[in-house]
């Protein structure tokens, strides 16, 4: 009779399904298809899709590329640690290093321009969490992720690390300027 006894009808799979149950199953199925279609729709028409462009790399290789980029594009330094502020050429490539426990360097972007930002980690997993926009991307050592970004508003933005990376995790804060 009940759910803790064997089905009273030995041929339970031949019992008809009630209309209301069928209707609910249909609703659930159609809703699932809509949600599935929505992700594909957004890939075609949406403007916020995470890039698929990624390469295997090593910390040394990535650091070398980033240092070259920094050397060529630095416009000033900031804070008592002299962190370089690097102007990314509009439409061009920018590099952002995640390491224990800093985001390096500071990037300067322009509103409405599209940039290819290369992300990778020198050591552990880190989390790129752009605030207050609230875009969150995993940064993994050994992988160079090329994310196309177009800032939509001027301002000073923070990059919070939101993947646990050890004792200094809570002070791993970076910065992006949008002019």
């Amino acid at each position: 009779m009940s759910a803790i006894l064997p089905p009273s009808d030995r041929l339970w799979w031949k019992q008809p399904i009630d209309k209301v149950e069928w209707a609910w199953i249909a609703i659930a199925f159609v809703w699932g298809m809509i949600m599935f279609g929505m992700m594909i729709y957004w890939h075609i028409y949406g403007k916020q899709n995470l890039s698929n462009e990624a390469y295997k790399t090593t910390p040394e290789l990535f650091a070398a590329k980033a240092e070259k980029f920094i050397a060529e594009n630095t416009i000033r330094t900031e804070t008592d640690q002299d962190i370089p502020v690097v102007r990314v050429p509009p439409g061009g490539d920018g590099y952002l290093i995640a390491r224990l426990w800093a985001w390096y360097p500071i990037l300067e972007l322009e509103e409405g321009q599209t940039y290819k930002i290369h992300l990778s980690s020198m050591d552990y997993n880190h989390g790129f969490s752009l605030q207050p926009v609230n875009i969150n991307i995993q940064v993994i050592p050994g992988y160079e992720h090329v994310v196309k970004m177009t800032p939509t508003k001027k301002g000073t933005y923070a990059i919070v690390c939101n993947e646990f990376c050890g004792i200094g995790h809570s002070w791993m804060l970076g910065r992006i300027y949008v002019k």
């Binding site: 009940s2 609703i27 939509t152």
Partner: protein, 564 residues
């Protein structure tokens, strides 16, 4: 091996001696881990509460690692072992297969749990529950988890073996009861989960010993989540089974349709494991096609399964209540339900929280693009506290109120407090989940010690609302800890000091489940069909909330920077 069978005078259930001891020990071990997990929960809450910030950073990360392991692995797995033995040996009224191996599994889990906890509390293994490489813990951190997994695998095999014993001894006729079928689902998922876990933790253990040079960080995340997320799907299958069990015991409710409920469990087996992808949506290493296909459990078939259970469980209760004569209006069946019985109130709060809070937030969080708004924010623990805690833990707590008299043969102490406990714990945990998700929506990070970023070269000021949400997290977190502590007190108190109850008749032979051919012919043509309008209304309410919240998040996403 000689054994005896006891027929419980309260429930009519039959307990085999060995199975009974195993269930008791596993349940008690689970409760003790819940105690450790609860103490660490309090410390975590009091540190993340910005106004208090109790622990220093190193201790916070240590305690948070312990909280994850002790709750998500140890409390839940031990209790699930008891559920598996119950669903096989008790419901099928047979002896348990190879009790010695079951005991070996139990002790492996105990020893493994202790070893991992020792590693954590020694302070060199604060790597969080997920232990992402290349961050390295001490070797015995991994070793302990491997032992727990081996123990759990042995327990799962004993469950499978017990099904075979019941079939061979002909203790039941026809198909497995639905609850046992649900437990079988959990056990099959568990087998997959444990093998994934072995696939990643054994190499990681070798790596920590220096025998392997490197483990790819992306590969680790993918295989580890085959363990990490699938283990939560064991919980879903287990607590859905517990819902059906509660409905059956309290209301003598029968499933609206055996076929539909079993089909939904089958969908779990086929598709739930793909959810490893939920944690990789913002990762570099997978293609968009892979993400879309996997995150949706191959087109949301497992979500459909959960929506089906969300309908058929309350539907079965409604039908049973209406048969008893509670037929007035849409909701008399629900109003006149035994709200003063913690077995029911806990189960129903678990059902509603899991559906409305955990289920909806989980699907939204698992949408490929929307995930970027929430990945690694406080939204994530907010979501899983409404699934694993409000859903699974609360369901396990409420069924324990039934197990104390039936399995442990003790009367519950302080019945008034027992009545209050599910409300106190369930409601505070639900609100806790909501405010955590609120903080995450505002960007607040999970696993983060300091919202003020002291020591950073720059400053960032979170919005005031984020501080408000974190303050509320603190308040409701503390209430939830009190609710959980109350449960431990009531259960342990009842086991120690509750009035001893009569165990019932003991026999050398099992009494098989009586065959029920008469009723079969009546049921076969749906002659006792009862409409369930109240459940339809509840289900539509869930659906409307689901659709609204889903599209609100697409709206949020459309407002951020452009990404391609």
């Amino acid at each position: 091996m000689a054994t005896t069978y006891r027929t419980c005078p309260i429930s009519g259930m039959q307990f085999e001696d060995q199975a009974e001891k195993l269930m008791r020990w596993n349940a008690v071990a689970g409760v003790l881990w819940l105690l450790v997990g609860g103490i660490t929960a309090l410390l975590v809450i009091l540190t993340r509460w910005p106004a208090i910030k109790l622990l220093p950073a190193d201790q916070f990360y240590l305690i948070l690692t312990a909280h994850g392991i002790d709750m998500l692995i140890l409390w839940i797995l031990f209790f699930e072992m008891a559920v598996l033995y119950f669903a096989s040996s008790v419901l099928l009224r047979c002896r348990i297969a190879t009790p010695k191996i079951a005991w070996l599994g139990f002790w492996l889990m105990v020893v493994g749990g202790i070893i991992t906890n020792v590693a954590i509390f020694q302070g060199e293994s604060s790597v969080m529950f997920t232990s992402y490489v290349p961050m390295q813990a001490q070797p015995h951190f991994y070793l302990g988890i491997i032992l727990v997994a081996v123990g759990a695998l042995l327990g799962t095999c004993v469950f499978f073996g017990t099904l075979v014993v019941a079939k061979k001894d002909k203790t039941y006729e026809g198909s497995l009861p639905l609850v046992t079928f649900g437990a079988l689902t959990a056990a099959i998922i568990a087998t997959f989960t444990i093998l994934s876990g072995a696939g990643i933790l054994i190499p990681t253990f070798f790596w920590s010993m220096g025998w392997i040079k490197e483990i790819d960080a992306q590969l680790y995340r993918m295989v580890w989540w085959g363990l990490g997320h699938s283990s939560q799907q064991i919980n879903v299958a287990a607590h859905v089974s517990v819902w059906y069990l509660t409905a059956a015991v309290l209301f003598n409710a029968k499933p609206l349709s055996e076929k539909v409920s079993r089909f939904a469990f089958l969908l779990y087996i086929l598709f739930l494991q793909l959810a490893s992808a939920h944690h990789l949506l913002s990762d570099p290493g997978m293609s968009a096609e892979w993400k879309v296909l996997n995150t949706s459990y191959f087109m949301y078939f497992a979500v459909m399964a959960s929506m089906i259970h969300g309908f058929t469980v309350p539907g079965a209760i409604e039908a049973a209540q209406r048969r008893r004569g509670f037929t007035n209006g849409m909701f008399e069946w629900l109003r006149k339900a035994p709200w003063g019985n913690p077995v029911f109130s806990g189960m129903f709060i678990s059902l509603v929280s899991f559906g409305f809070l955990g289920g909806i937030s989980g699907v939204v969080l698992g949408t490929e693009q929307i995930n970027m708004l929430m990945h690694n924010t406080f939204y994530v623990p907010g979501h899983f506290h409404t699934t694993v805690v409000s859903g699974t833990t609360l369901a396990f707590m409420s069924i324990t109120f039934l197990l104390v008299p039936v399995l442990f043969r003790r009367e519950l102490i302080l019945p008034k407090l027992c009545q209050i406990q599910p409300y106190l714990y369930g409601i505070s945990m639900g609100v806790l989940g909501l405010v955590m998700m609120g903080a995450g929506t505002l960007g607040v990070s999970r696993r983060h010690w300091d919202m003020a970023f002291s020591g950073a070269p720059f400053q960032y000021e979170w919005p005031g609302a984020a501080y408000l949400m974190m303050g509320l997290t603190g308040i409701f977190g503390v209430i939830a800890v009190i609710g959980g502590g109350l449960w431990i007190l009531l259960i342990v108190g009842s086991l120690l000091f509750g009035k001893k109850l009569d165990g019932g008749k003991v026999s050398d032979k099992p009494t098989p489940i009586p065959s029920n051919t008469q009723a079969a012919s009546a049921v076969a043509h749906g002659s006792d069909h009862v409409p369930v309008p109240g459940t339809v209304v509840l289900a539509l309410l869930l659906f409307v909330s689901f659709v609204l919240y889903y599209f609100v998040n697409w709206k949020y996403l459309s407002e951020v920077w452009l990404l391609s």
